[in-house]
């Protein structure tokens, strides 16, 4: 029996290209089912997954602003305790208090302890004593987490990072260096509470560490969010999985993007694969879940009738043995004069192309709106509204309505001159969430 989940591999594309066409698009759908036969991510109390060690580090912003209003710090403590209770029995864990420095508040003995009745109680006691006082240096928080994880190199390593403000106690370069040092060591989900943090800053961390960004506008909602993130992390069964993409000699990989459940461009994370024509794109840890990737390869056009392998996608688990192949699929290109074939756009490729365009339109529209360029904001947010309605993205439609209004003269959507900051942040955060393509 495999120590790894079973992966179902599906590739959707229109392999037919017009004469001279170079760009080949495909959506790769990967569905992992637990090797142990379990369903979706196991919740609290589930058995430890397939003998793998999980390590969870919870980083709580303890800067002074967390007390304004006090509900933020109270919610953070409560949510952290919920997360501790959600840990699988036997998982290693730590709690870090983040300020201009990063202090490990649990455990204090220098090495990690497994979650059990006693360690949970001691950790929750330490969390109760947290207080807000200091600055914000997320790079140092990540560095501290990295040192904790270093003692468990082969475990499934995940951090939760909560902040309420900007990274103002260090330079952007400090943060960038810390993010770079964390890549490949652990994954992280980031949450911002209140409206004084920067979506772009947290997105940089989350994208690099293959996690998500979330906004907590209501402190009371934080605990449920922490529970979900922890349960999700505990459900991971394989730590370090990469998409290995072979492309033919002379081809250019235009991009490799995760497109579901959220958008994340992996193109810049390529590391050399097992031969000069392959590159590995990290996808982090996997539990029982489905993710989709949009791959675009530019190849030398072939003759009419020629078929070319434009890409071979493999999923490999990087482990002590080196790399274990979990599945593979082919991206093909066939040049044809039949325009009925070559002009057809694969439904799934079209869907995720639209989702990516929607995300870009939202982010550009919000930037223009913040800068007071209402014409651009109206054009971009209007386009985003069309795409959101078209794809049935109801959350996004709702949030777009908060930053736009209907012009009574033209009955068309236009950007509001003044918007609630939280509404704009929430829309920004949700812009990279995608809806799954319907089955073709």
């Amino acid at each position: 029996m495999s120590q790894y989940p079973d992966f179902a591999f599906e590739i959707n594309q229109n392999e037919f290209l017009a004469a001279g066409a170079r760009e080949v698009h495909a959506v790769v759908t990967l569905t992992a089912t637990a090797a142990t036969g379990g369903g979706p991510a196991p919740s609290h109390g589930g058995a430890p997954a397939s003998g793998k060690d999980n390590v969870e580090v919870i980083i709580i912003d303890c800067s002074g602003s967390m007390d304004y209003p006090r509900t933020k710090m109270m919610a953070a403590k409560e949510a952290t305790k919920v997360a501790i209770d959600t840990l699988t029995d036997g998982a290693y864990f730590a709690v870090v208090a983040g300020t201009e420095g990063a202090r490990v508040v649990y455990p204090t003995g220098g090495h990690l302890l497994r979650a059990d009745y006693q360690s949970r109680a001691a950790a929750k006691e330490a969390v109760s004593r947290l207080h807000a006082n200091g600055g914000t240096a997320m790079g140092r928080w990540l560095g501290q987490a990295g040192r904790i994880f270093d003692a468990h190199p082969n475990a499934i390593k995940h951090a939760i990072l909560l902040t309420d403000g900007k990274d103002e106690s260090e330079t952007p370069a400090d943060l960038a260096r810390a993010i770079q040092a964390s890549i490949g060591n652990f994954t992280a989900d980031c949450r911002g509470i209140g409206e004084d943090w920067e979506v772009g800053e947290l997105r940089k961390i989350a994208d690099a560490l293959l996690g998500t960004v979330g906004i907590i506008r209501e402190p009371s909602r934080l605990a449920e969010d922490f529970r979900e993130m922890t349960a999700n992390s505990m459900g991971k069964e394989v730590a370090d999985v990469a998409l290995r993409l072979w492309a033919p000699k002379g081809a250019t990989v235009r991009y490799v993007k995760q497109v579901s459940p959220n958008l994340a461009d992996l193109s810049g994370m390529r590391v050399p694969g097992d031969n000069p024509l392959t590159g590995d794109y990290p996808t982090g840890a996997w539990g029982a879940e489905t993710r989709e990737y949009h791959v675009c390869v530019e190849v030398e056009p072939g003759n009419i009738g020629q078929e070319k392998l434009a890409g071979r996608v493999q999923l490999v688990a990087k482990d002590a043995a080196g790399a274990t192949l979990l599945g593979e699929g082919k991206i093909r290109a066939v040049w044809t004069e039949d325009t009925d074939l070559s002009t057809r756009i694969n439904g799934r490729v079209a869907h995720y192309t639209g989702q990516a365009e929607m995300a870009a339109a939202i982010q550009e529209g919000l930037d223009a709106q913040a800068a007071g360029d209402l014409d651009t904001a109206t054009a971009r947010l209007g386009r985003a509204m069309d795409l959101a309605v078209e794809s049935g993205h109801e959350d996004t439609v709702k949030m777009l309505r908060k930053v736009t209004e209907v012009d009574p003269a033209t009955s068309k959507v236009r950007a509001k001159a003044k918007v609630d900051k939280g509404d704009a942040m929430e829309l920004d955060v949700v812009s990279t969430k995608t809806v799954r393509a319907k089955r073709n």
Partner: protein, 409 residues
């Protein structure tokens, strides 16, 4: 141009040396084994297997055979890369390697052919079969057959493959076995030639379909050949009657294609054209449909040897092989070259682009006489460069056919 008359040519059958052969001293016929590549395979009476690898040398070669262990892995046709994955993709450039039928290449030295899918069709529906054979009189003969599957019929690729194999096998067996003396076809009566009269020349003769042994069309030749083989030691069989066996080869091919028909063919059973050439001192050509044979030389006497069974300028052929063919009588031509040249047997994928014999000769000659494979490649490339709208097949037989080292007759 030779003054030999049709009657004289017909009367001597595959016997007496032709003008071209007298000009060249007899050379041993050296064959390249299609399996192991051994080049010292000397054709001898009764030699049926390659001395080097044991490959049966009386089987027609079509280019569709499994590559033998003696031939290393083929490099990528696009980039020359040496590693092809299990699914047929080059691991360097990713190009899917052609299926074997997409480009069939045969180079036997004394005859060579290439059959190519072309650029527009998704499969190659042409087939070819070729091979030299040694007659009972110790003379070497070369057999070349090309068939072009009818695209509107079901499984035309299978039709052409079955036809060339059946016809070439019959021709090769019948040449090796000879024709019993009593079964020779009478020479055609002199008189007005009925249509289609292909070309008006002293050295070409339309062989009338006279005296078809009614009833035993398809089985006749094979039986005759077997009988002849059995009877051979007693000396009753003579050199094969090429006219007789050419006719029987068409009947055998027609039967083989007819046998492919199924109930589910919706009234379009597998069908194909046919053209064969048996080249010795003379050239015997049989055909149905619009596949052609040409004589190419450097003396300005290149010519088409066949006339299409189709309306001028149309591809609607009027005769073919297959279950719905109505057992057609093939056109038969005997041609006696008056000097060196090559016989080209081809499908319309080639002549659609180069129709005139002189133009084909300009492309193929003089190289075709010493390197028929290289010349076939040039002809096929010309069709590809011109658009490659159809499958392209070209088989070239240099004339005169080299004689055996020690003629046994």
């Amino acid at each position: 141009m030779t003054t030999e008359t049709a009657a004289q040519a017909g009367g001597t059958g595959a016997g007496g040396p032709a003008a071209g052969q007298e000009a060249d001293p007899p050379m041993p016929l050296q064959l390249t084994c299609p399996n192991c590549g051994a080049t010292d395979l000397v054709m001898e009476q009764g030699a049926r297997f390659c001395e080097a690898c044991g490959y049966g040398v009386d089987e027609p070669v079509t280019g569709e055979e499994e590559p033998s262990a003696f031939q290393g892995p083929k490099p990528c046709v696009s980039c020359g890369g040496t590693e092809i994955d299990a699914e047929g993709y080059c691991t360097d450039c990713g190009d899917l390697q052609p299926r074997r039928r997409d480009r069939m290449e045969v180079d036997l030295g004394v005859v060579a052919g290439i059959s190519d899918r072309g650029l527009r069709h998704h499969r190659n529906e042409d087939s070819m079969a070729l091979r030299p054979a040694l007659g009972l009189d110790g003379r070497n003969l070369v057999v070349a057959v090309v068939c072009d599957g009818v695209s509107t019929s079901e499984r035309p690729d299978e039709a052409s493959a079955a036809a060339v194999s059946a016809a070439a096998k019959l021709l090769l067996t019948a040449i090796a076995a000879g024709t019993p003396v009593g079964e020779r076809m009478p020479d055609p009566e002199p008189g007005p030639a009925p249509a289609p009269g292909p070309v008006e020349t002293a050295v070409m003769e339309l062989v009338l379909p006279s005296v078809p042994p009614a009833g035993d069309e398809s089985a006749g030749a094979a039986e005759a050949a077997e009988a002849a083989e059995a009877a051979e030691p007693s000396g009753k069989a003579g050199p094969a009657d090429l006219r007789l066996i050419s006719r029987h080869a068409v009947a055998a091919a027609d039967q083989a294609v007819s046998d492919l028909a199924r109930d589910a063919d919706h009234g379009n059973p597998p069908a194909c054209t046919y053209v064969s050439a048996v080249v010795g001192a003379e050239v015997f050509v049989a055909w149905l449909g619009d596949s052609r044979a040409y004589w190419l030389d450097e003396r300005g006497t290149s010519r088409a040897l066949t006339r299409d069974d189709a309306e001028e300028g149309s591809h609607a052929i009027e005769a073919w092989l297959g279950a719905d063919s109505g057992a057609p009588e093939p056109h038969l031509i005997r041609f006696t070259p008056d000097g060196p040249g090559v016989v080209l047997v081809c499908s319309d994928g080639l002549w659609n682009y180069v129709d005139q014999a002189a133009d084909l000769a300009a492309l193929a000659m003089p190289g075709a006489q010493t390197d028929p494979f290289g010349a076939a490649a040039r002809l096929v490339q010309k069709a590809l460069d011109s658009g490659g709208h159809d499958n392209i097949t070209a088989v070239l037989v240099p004339y005169p056919v080299p004689a055996s080292a020690e003629p046994s007759a």
